[in-house]
């Protein structure tokens, strides 16, 4: 054994099968309720000189039963917990339809400038001219990139953007005395599309799909009619394919007096290259947390601004930022169909998204979509001899496989996903879109080095070969190298425990 001067071994002793178990670093971490003290605090505040006797019984007698942690305890608790998460900053996170790309830290810094973070939504307009101009500039970029003449910034996330689009369509129909009751949605759509249509008060009808993964034009034409308010499509669609008949879809939709909504979740595939406005789209939301890299934050926050065609522009909701008399102001009332949330939308996300756009520029954004599509096609090309692509030919920004290749192996899509965890990757999106059996939807994004794409391909190919070599049982035991093994989701749903209680401790 090689020894260095101080006598420590430079090469580890041979170790047993559990050697790669990471639990030496990843500790079991108690809940704050098991860790904290009822009278402990990590914030030193002076004691108030005045009491709250003026409030009488409106005030409660003592503090809320919440534990406190000192600052060092809090740091350890949350840092330890963080270490149980996978993240983009650790490795490829190819969750299809989610666009898990690198989150530039310049954007975080910008969003924390006091002039942007420490301003109140209802300050006088004269004291927030920079913020309003920022919103105006973001609007300009979004309208230019999509070729659409109007934008509503306020929707809080993609699903609220969908609602914003449909409510504008509803308002437009109502304005011409043409109440309609149905929305057509492809079977492959995100679940938010039908859920949103229902929330907007429409009955949902599904449009079929062709064998090659596109909207079935004949089915669409048959279902369109004077009662259809909107057709909601996703382009590129959730199979990772560009809807090449989109112009015809728009023509048919408009001929029937309906509007075309486009779910912009997959805008990253075409940003800087293809303008939805030129395709006949009437409204589209843009997930700033996908295409424009604002961090996903463990589930949010997002932002879902919506761009509108000329026909729908008058129905865009309040607030709107407008430039007049050499200054900027907000129109907070009147016009449009109403209000989607308090205040003006996700300003923190606007700052980050604009920083991202300015950094890339028009040329860089075209390279973004180019590299995203290139990377997905590369993965597809390197995997298609071993896995079964759901559809022939090239894809856009995500590669979709079905589970035909697993037939007879005893392993499932879920097993493959969990096995990927042991190789250090976040699994792909599984079992979505619903139209493909055992779907595996892989979206690498443009921010992966080629070496990382190759590492992923090698890992997935090795898993595939193990599955085909009759080692399904091994895959079913995965993950073995994660902080926890597979969790009992049935138990969680059958006996819901959604909070800590003293009795449960």
């Amino acid at each position: 054994m090689n020894m260095i001067a101080v006598g420590r071994p430079t090469r580890p002793e041979p170790v047993g099968p559990d050697a790669s178990d990471p639990r030496g670093l990843v500790r079991d971490e108690p809940l704050i309720f098991e860790l904290g003290g009822w009278s402990k605090t990590g914030v030193d505040l002076p004691e108030a000189e005045l009491d709250a006797k003026d409030l009488g019984d409106l005030a409660c007698a003592g503090p809320v039963a919440l534990p406190g942690l000192s600052e060092p305890e809090a740091l350890r608790h949350y840092v330890r917990l963080s270490q149980k998460n996978h993240a983009i900053d650790l490795a490829l996170y190819p969750l299809g339809s989610c666009t898990m790309k690198h989150n530039p830290r310049l954007n975080e810094k910008a969003a924390r400038l006091p002039g942007l973070a420490d301003i109140h939504p209802l300050q006088p307009a004269s004291t927030v001219q920079g913020a309003l101009e920022l919103m105006g500039e973001l609007s300009h970029w979004l309208m230019t990139l999509t070729g659409m003449p109007a934008v509503a910034l306020s929707p809080k996330a993609g699903a609220q953007g969908e609602l914003c689009g449909l409510l504008a369509m509803r308002a437009a129909h109502e304005a011409r005395g043409d109440a309609r009751h149905r929305v057509l949605i492809p079977v492959s759509a995100h679940g938010t599309n039908p859920a949103t249509a229902a929330l907007a008060g429409y009955a949902v009808e599904e449009i079929g799909q062709t064998d090659d993964g596109h909207v079935d034009l004949k089915d669409l034409e048959a279902k369109l009619g004077p009662d259809v308010a909107a057709v909601m499509i996703t382009n590129p669609n959730t199979c990772g394919l560009f809807e090449r008949d989109i112009v015809e879809i728009a023509r048919l939709t408009h001929t029937a007096g309906a509007y075309l909504y486009c779910d912009g979740a997959n805008f990253n595939a075409i940003v800087g290259r293809v303008r939805p406005g030129d395709l006949g789209v009437d409204a589209m939301h843009i997930n700033l947390h996908k295409t424009f890299s604002t961090p996903h934050g463990g589930g949010g926050p997002g932002a879902g601004p919506v761009v509108f065609s000329e026909a729908l522009a008058p129905f865009a909701p309040a607030p709107r930022v407008v430039q007049a008399d050499g200054g900027w102001r907000l129109e907070e009332h009147g016009r449009g169909f109403g209000r989607l949330c308090a205040f003006h939308g996700q300003m923190g996300m606007f700052v980050r998204a604009l920083a991202y756009m300015l950094s890339h520029g028009g040329d860089g954004l075209a390279q973004v979509s180019g590299d995203a599509v290139l990377s997905a096609n590369y993965l597809k090309a390197r995997l298609e001899d071993l896995l079964t692509p759901a559809f022939e030919g090239r894809c856009m920004h995500e590669a979709l496989f079905d589970d035909a290749w697993l037939e007879g192996t005893g392993a499932t899509t879920l097993d493959v996903a969990k096995a990927l965890i042991d190789e250090g990757f976040h699994p792909m999106t599984m079992y979505f879109p619903l139209v493909v059996r055992g779907a595996m939807l892989i979206e690498p994004t443009e921010t992966e080095p080629k070496a990382e794409l190759d590492r992923f391909v090698d890992a997935l190919r090795a898993i595939a070969e193990r599955a085909k070599a009759g080692q399904a049982e091994e895959l079913k035991a995965a993950p073995r190298r994660a902080p926890l093994a597979r969790l009992d989701e049935t138990l969680a749903a059958r006996k819901p425990r959604l909070r800590w209680t003293e009795e449960s401790a």
């Binding site: 605090t41 004691e47 005045l50 709250a52 003026d54 019984d57 409106l58 005030a59 409660c60 406190g68 650790l90 996170y93 969750l95 530039p104 975080e108 002039g115 301003i119 939504p121 209802l122 006088p124 004269s126 920079g130 970029w141 996330a157 609220q160 609602l163 409510l167 509803r170 679940g191 039908p194 859920a195 112009v247 947390h289 996903h296 589930g299 926050p301 907070e332 209000r339 003006h344 300003m347 923190g348 300015l358 950094s359 040329d363 390279q367 180019g370 590299d371 599509v373 290139l374 096609n377 090309a381 969990k418 699994p427 969790l487 989701e489 969680a492 749903a493 959604l498 909070r499 800590w500």
Partner: protein, 444 residues
């Protein structure tokens, strides 16, 4: 470009594997007419972008730059430095919804702790893993009440924030819920009129838009006797550290804005919607729920659960269309609250109340200014001898951000002379003196 790792050699190699001549060929399914060159500025380095954003930031007057009294649904509070550090941990910041629980236990345990904290604060047994903000949470509460009661009318009390009222009206219109909005009123939460058999819920805010604090028990009894539900909206979460909890006063659903704890003002978003309810309504809740379970080796772990309510499973029959929520803001909320603990939160709330009492005392001394709010936590409404909107602009010129004119929130309310002012633990006596001085000067 600094965010793009592929080199031109990589691209050439990858194109060869794919069998495509160039990247453009991968886009051939898109119609040529939509593939026009897009006219936008070229890429920039970090120095130039930072310079541009700093220039925009410099044209705003930060709340911390001087006397500042805006509230009305967004509050300026201190956030401990460790909170912002922790939420920037890569593993929290750059992960997504915990769909794979084995490698998301960090986020999931935080959500479980968050749900427990929200339940304790609101005085209700179950809470979800967050919604977008308080206003959309209030709309979800109305939709949920309509589903539970199978009734279709919601009464909005006169103290409800106008943005919340407008948001509710917009978001529930599609499914046919009728919204009856009472006229804005400083102190009318006790009003239990109009409780017919078609009423699904009454929505009240506490403290209300004007800062008024009310004992909601009598109202809750009347609402329940009519077979309806009481939805309590809270826009200032710090108040929950001092006031009777909504649950203790009879709320069935609480929809609250959590910004005050852990989150920056950020010009209105992103914020975090808190949502809690009574246990029997669990399966009607909107949004994600995190639950405790065990893994294959019997160890405690957490998963997203009861997802049969949600859009990705139930599609058009889901309880809500929400997908992305406010995860990172919920984390900030939870960390700040863990640092405070119940004791710290009460102390913080008392400091807020004290600052507001000092503010009231100062305003009482300004000739022509009448304080309208009878019982308050940290916010009060005053009637001015002049319209409030031009006054706040004049006050801004004096270096004082004086508050929010009611006319800005609801121009039709006939309250052009009413101004809302909030004070927090960050309001110092000098700020209050500056406000009093500038107000006296501007009114003279």
């Amino acid at each position: 470009m600094r965010y793009l790792p592929l080199t031109s050699d990589d691209r050439a190699e990858m194109l060869a594997v794919i069998g495509a001549p160039d990247i453009e060929a991968l886009f051939e399914d898109a119609p040529a007419k939509a593939r026009a060159k897009i006219d936008l500025p070229a890429h920039q380095g970090e120095i130039e972008v930072e310079r541009r954003l700093s220039a925009l930031a410099s044209r705003n007057r930060p709340a911390g730059a001087g006397p500042f009294f805006c509230g009305a649904g967004a509050y300026r509070h201190h956030v401990p430095a460790s909170v912002d550090h922790l939420i920037q941990r890569s593993e929290f910041l750059t992960s997504y919804t915990p769909y794979q629980p084995e490698i998301s236990q960090g986020t999931l345990q935080v959500l479980f702790e968050f749900q427990t904290q929200v339940a304790e604060l609101t005085g209700l047994p179950v809470a979800n893993a967050s919604l977008y903000d308080g206003s959309t949470a209030a709309a979800e509460a109305v939709l949920m009440a309509a589903r539970i009661t199978r009734r279709s009318k919601a009464i909005l009390a006169g103290g409800l924030h106008p943005h919340y009222a407008e948001t509710i009206r917009t978001l529930v219109h599609g499914v046919g819920v009728e919204v009856v909005r009472r006229p804005l009123a400083v102190d009318a939460e006790a009003d239990a009129s109009g409780l017919g058999e078609d009423v699904a819920c009454v929505v009240v805010q506490n403290p209300n838009l004007f800062g008024t604090v009310t004992d909601l028990k009598p109202l809750a009894d009347k609402v329940h006797a009519a077979g309806a539900l009481l939805v309590v909206v809270v826009t200032e979460a710090v108040s929950l550290g001092l006031l009777q909890s909504p649950g203790a006063m009879g709320a069935d659903i609480v929809a609250a804005e959590g910004q005050s704890i852990g989150n920056a003002l950020s010009f209105g978003g992103p914020y975090v919607g808190l949502f809690a309810a009574r246990e029997p309504f669990l399966r009607q809740m909107p949004g994600r729920l995190c639950g405790e379970t065990v893994d294959g080796e019997g160890r405690r772990g957490f998963v997203l659960t009861l997802s049969a309510r949600e859009q990705h499973i139930r599609r058009e029959k889901a309880t809500s269309n929400i997908c992305t929520n406010s995860g990172l803001c919920a984390l900030a909320f939870s960390i700040h609250l863990s640092l405070l603990g119940g004791e710290g939160l009460r102390r913080l709330a008392l400091l807020n109340h004290e600052a507001a009492r000092r503010l009231k005392a100062a305003l009482d001394e300004v000739p022509g200014v009448e304080v309208l709010t009878p019982r308050f936590f940290n916010e009060i409404a005053v009637r001015l001898p002049a319209p409030a909107a031009p006054l706040v602009e004049a006050m801004a010129a004096e270096g004082v951000i004086a508050g929010v004119p009611v006319s800005r929130l609801d121009p039709e309310a006939g309250m052009d002379d009413v101004l809302l002012l909030a004070a927090t633990e960050l309001t110092i006596p000098e700020d209050i003196q500056a406000l009093k001085g500038a107000l006296t000067k501007v009114l003279a």
